[in-house]
Symmetry: D2
Subunit: 489 residues, 4 copies
């Protein structure tokens, strides 16, 4: 019997706590990292992976994902997590909620969550967890169970559902959410429940609430105004949901969260206004644990770039202007933003079509997690590798109770990693992304820096553009209790 | 013909810009101050008023008032402005809106406002103006007319009407407001209209929006919770509308007003939380013109003091705890708060009765404007006289386009004044207040410092506890264009 | 006997607390204002002054002045206060200290101050007071006496004397100051003494410390550097004492004053950096009473404007660049700066000559107090009249214990006033300024808005460019105890 | 030949980037860490060290040290670095300067530094580097050479030397510093030189200036005052150098550093005032790189604890009061403070004796680096292990150009580590500390948590209270260029 199942040799690995890549070999046994050493001979392992002096990153943690939002959970779980491997992600955390879309029904999560897990089980190519959005008053009482037994430690509230559906094509929000009372009263009660769970179970890991920060009442006003402006559709959509609605929501979130004492994650911030507001509420509530996410597309795309390319790029919050992209990058560099996610939602062309208002929002992007950070971040702007790993892997892993089993190349951690071809440049096409979505708003964008190989718990699952292993993703029952020190019995 | 119609001799008058009372005589002609001199002989005037060395203040400007909210406008206009004279106020600015209460109807202000003025005309004992609350989308288009022609330069939005009626006994807010869309979209559109009017007509005086800062969605949540606590009714009501709902609303107001660039007045702040939030938004938006009001009752009463005394003290926002009263006084001293008003609403006992939730909120207090500031402010806490005059008279006059015709003892200004018996101490009774309201939450409170005589435009209208002149109040078409220098034709 | 000694008719007077000029007549008796009325007939007074509809301001209070710094006190007292009348000032407060310049000696103020007063007595054309700079440890013990008996309630510390003489031509500061220990230890001990006096006697009026904010240790470094740059002399001087030395000193002042609890006045701030630093220390120490002065020349001149015009413009702190002038004006408008002074020092040509380093700093400017504010402030930038009066008269009067006897047109106040020719435009020449100084750095500057007549305690002392009365200035024993209400025996 | 020279088995090692100890073995070859693995058999190495399940920390980096300040460099280099091993430190960075003490001479560092290195060479038991204090104008021009060739990337300025010697027994500072100009001009010029070097060479690692923050001019004032108070000597000393002198110096440092754009380290902060000031200047200058140090003694001792125990505890800044200790611990927890050092200075009893003022300041403490953090930090206050490692090892290593060769247990890093007996409790005695100093202010303090074994570059140098290897410390030529990835040829 070999000492290791697999050894990755000649790696320039990004190890936790270090700024520069380390020239090491990585020994893997039973799906976990068993050794990191200056040299491990291939002969010590059943299988060798030669990194050939390339960068090795911990597997990405794509923490904003939507399995099953527009298609059956079973289908998305398979095709869309395959797409994640392309971008170097080996874990995804998907949002799930009752109401319209997803399973199109409401009811207790005690009944519905097991069904969702059952549908995902055996189909995903990455490990996967779920964030849960309590939509009804009754579901608030399930938070304790979700945390203590179901492996869920992060929740969500959609601030703009107070008066709009997802596409902003209807103001019958209640029909959309299938909720009795989905307003700030509901939000505050939810915050209190989550804060209570954090006090009760927080020694096992952070328990938090994620917020979609946009304001329905303002959006309704602006929708009416922009309709007559005759602007291109994605600029129209941007103006219908202007950045200051994010600013308003962020300030509201600050007041409510500071009162409830709940940890919050501000999702997919899209604008200079939002970045500024984050700085303001951190100043106002220094004791609050506020973490901030932006997305790959808000860091890469502008509505100008997408003009004339249809409605694929409709998303909430909208694709913004150049100055917003620049402000987000500054926030990535100065530490305002903690992590990057794809907000991946496989939204087929038939749901987009040609009419702005009924078109469903969202699209896929998980295949670009590391590539966008390398291309737009490292190559164009000098973003250091250790910061890239934090943004795409260790920071979301820490925020959501996965670290250091996920998010770190460390002895005892899961052997999730990706080998990077730093100088490989490709023009994005749908095919490249391995998603079921037939188009991509990133179409034609040149991206430099791609995973050549992705490994999940010691198994090479993606190599050279091909899926090379069957679906072996497992449910991430959070907090992951295996700690890296607990190796081998 | 005498040189003056009236002369007030032996006055210790609070003149603008001076800290200490000045020993002067005041000569009055044609309702205005014609001279301020070290000595004017009684013989120079048809009539002499000997102030006998007592303080003389400019007539108070009670800028938060509700003529006709629960009773016919005609009745309130007469009885309740008489009450104002008792407290030394010679001007009131009443809120008026369409919807439930007041005239119980909706429609254009071009039609309704003249009717209101007609009903008030000839009945009021003080001069009077109106703040207007645009309730419907259509009324937003009347703002330009209201400002440019109708003499209205201050408006109002009720932040808690988004989901509650006034008594918080119904969540059918739309039925209550008779509005099509009374949400933040409406508010923001209103802010833009008012900001536009301010840019267009602001050289004639400040044009502003007043905000009732409480949050309906939270209140609905807390109402359900407090019902089962078994606490005394006014403490229950306090907990049903906790201070942090003010804090939330103030932060929302800050974001929205900063975006629209509108001048705002934060009305009747009631709590330590609210005071803190004001400091925060002033820090966040230093360029914004934010002025702050509190009320006589929030500076004087606690729910503990009112326990066992019925529902007379139900008011929005509620009567709070001792620490809130203390925080408000600190804010009065440190300049956070610009003015004090009564929020006078004559609410007869039959509208209160014994059940907390249906009981109507509000009560009268205008008769205590100077008395509370003298008793609680000067005697108990050392508040200087010049600050009292600012809080009760010159600051609201400046904010609402009346200064210096009102709010200043200056040559050319209206001869509105009140002579103060600084050491007179009385226990408050309804009779003392000259209001139609049969009770008062201030019942039994000892108050030291009362107007002995009140003069409106040169006429003694109140003296030694008695009304001594017929109603001669006139409509304050704002901004008042007579300036003190423009005397005599 | 007439009712008044003098009446000023047809005035558009700036009365305290009012924004706009008031059309009034002013009756004067026994040197004080006895009446302000819409109309006083000339026949009621022995003497009439027809203001002819022109603006009437309270006499200026030029609170930064140097009588006798370079010439005998007797001479400066006469010639330089005459110059003040030209600019509408009727009171000056001069700095005095022991050490080099002034009387060129040291010793106790109990002995020296009476001599200074004796030298000034009967010679000055304005009323005058003295700020005193305790230079030695022994003099610190005289602060109580100075405040309680000698009529001094403001003191001074020169932060750059720690290592430089006035001209920055010697680093033998001790020889210059004739002090045993003129460092931050001395400063802090002084602050404690002044704070103690303020607690003990402050009910009679504000007791404060004025600070010259520049840092000798840095200046010495920069002097060596700039010598070789070959720049024009006044730009050289600016670079030798760069704005950040003001910034450093202001922050040091903030720390020390906050620890001692002393009221401070930051003198003649000259730069954008200084303005910013003031905002910072006000934010850091909100409880501190910090008032800020700038000068006429820092608001009017740049070193570029003075290039090729000799060393007349050498002054501490130096004349700066355009962006500094602009920043100071913004600070005047936004309220950062409380008052304007001339820092008048009659420095004859023989003390300037052609060599930058030995040339003495300072020059005269008091004749431009109201003119510069009217010309640069009102005409060019729209500065309102009431703000001009605050800056040149009422604010320094309030800061230094003169208000409202000085600084206000109010019944009971001294009848110090100036009648303004708002549209008179003149090019500045030395002759125009009525000073003994043979040149002026303002030479050739066009100034619009000049006093036509200046009155001191009821006597017309300056009219139409001529001195028209003998010297009648009196010592301002502060705080002035006459209050405007205390009229007539 | 074995695979490893040494293997540490059964370690619970604090690895970089991980919160919890990892159960690993550590393989060492050629003085560096060659492997970290779940299991390495003892048979794979020439030598085994069984950590027996105990914590293993990276060797401490005691970054504030004084080799040779009071004794010959040769002697201190030997005895005092031996003391460091007791506390788990394997690197020290000593301050060195010309002037009194140390070598008691001045001159160019090009000549003097080689002599210092020669004297240290072969004698130290830890690796060692030097911070250099440029004392003369001429030495400022050596900064470029020191950085680019001599391996020095951190400098020092003593803010209180402006007017005092080290013991505060003389004000002839120039004689003490042997400097031409040791004032803020010198400091600012130094800052500019260091900032320039940072721009030029900073890609190789951080180049910074360390500041001793106390103000001589104030101290001189307070010394005179406290002499007559009759207080115990160490409380007297505390009052002679009150916390607000730190506050003043910190604000001065902020202004100067922000102008020069230099990275600064604020050394041995001792008080609540200092902590507050740090927060203030970070707020004022957010772009500045400001790092903060405190010492073991300021975290452990109060002047009350040392009363009656002689002058051993005299140190600059002084031992403070309980509330200061508490504030420093809060600052350790909230991240205000980046690292902890000993400020070790071996000061024999003969230099202390019985008279407060001539007694030399300082004492040894390096032997307590990890013990105090474990005892006072972990056991008493719950300070996490990863934070302890940051404070004592990785943060100073990062700040001073040593990381990750020092400060991290990582493959490729130097095999500097210490095995911790977490529950071993000992009462401090001089003997225990292995220093030449005959006493210790920590005498009698119970400390829980001690290194059982310390290893320097793979060699066990200290075990069970005994030095077990000859001196093998090497000069740390900074920045250390070996990176952990660059292992083995």
């Amino acid at each position: 019997m070999s000492r290791y199942d697999t050894v990755v040799t000649n790696a320039r690995a990004m190890l936790p706590g270090l700024t520069d890549p380390a020239a090491v070999s990585i020994g893997i046994r039973d799906g976990r990292i068993a050794a990191i050493a200056d040299e491990i001979a291939s002969s010590e392992a059943d299988q060798g992976v030669d990194a050939a002096g390339r960068l090795v990153f911990p597997g990405g943690v794509d923490s904003h994902f939507h399995i099953g939002i527009y298609r059956p959970v079973e289908q998305d779980a398979a095709s869309e997590t395959e797409s994640s491997l392309v971008g170097g992600a080996t874990s995804v955390i998907s949002y799930f909620r009752t109401g319209s879309h997803y399973l199109n029904k409401t009811g207790p999560y005690r009944e519905i969550l097991p069904k969702v897990l059952e549908k995902t089980q055996g189909r995903a190519h990455t490990d996967y967890g779920y964030h849960i959005a309590p939509m009804t008053t009754a579901q608030l009482d399930e938070i304790d169970w979700l945390v203590s037994e179901a492996g869920i430690n992060s929740f969500k509230y959609y601030m703009f559902y107070k008066g709009l559906n997802l596409a902003a094509s209807s103001t019958d929000a209640a029909a959309y959410t299938m909720s009795d009372s989905y307003d700030f009263g509901h939000l505050f009660a939810m915050m209190e429940k989550i804060a209570e769970a954090d006090r009760k179970y927080g020694d096992r890991g952070r328990i938090s609430l994620s917020l979609h920060c946009e304001s329905a009442e303002l959006i309704k006003l602006f929708i009416e105004r922009v309709k007559s402006l005759g602007l291109p559709p994605l600029e129209t959509y941007h103006r219908a949901r202007p950045p200051f609605t994010e600013r308003l929501s962020i300030h509201e979130a600050g007041v409510l969260a500071s009162e409830a004492g709940v940890r919050v994650n501000l999702l997919h911030l899209s604008s200079a206004d939002a970045v500024k507001a984050v700085g303001q509420i951190r100043g106002l509530y220094p004791e609050l644990d506020i973490r901030v996410e932006t997305t790959l597309h808000h860091l890469s795309l502008t509505y100008d770039m997408l003009e004339g390319k249809g409605l694929g790029g409709k998303v909430n919050p909208p694709i913004r202007a150049r100055e917003d992209v620049d402000a987000l990058w500054r926030a990535v560099f100065d530490g305002t933003i903690q992590w990057i996610a794809s907000d991946h939602a496989c939204c087929l062309e038939e749901l987009k079509q040609d009419d702005l208002w009924p078109a469903q929002p969202g699209f896929g992007g998980t295949a670009l997690l590391y590539p966008v950070l390398l291309s737009e971040g490292h190559h164009k702007r000098g973003l250091p590798f250790d910061r890239i790993v934090e943004l795409a892997s260790s920071n979301p892993a820490k925020a959501y109770g996965l670290y250091p089993v996920k998010g770190a190349l460390a002895v005892g951690a899961d052997a999730d990693l990706t080998v990077i071809d730093l100088d490989r440049e490709l023009e994005v096409t749908p095919t490249l992304l391995h998603s079921a979505q037939e188009y991509t708003p990133f179409q034609g964008v040149k991206v430099k820096g791609w995973p050549a190989l992705t490994m999940l718990r010691g198994t090479v699952v993606y190599r050279d553009g091909e899926l090379v292993a069957p679906a072996s993703g497992e449910f991430l029952k959070r907090p992951l209790s295996r700690r890296p020190q607990a190796v081998r019995s």
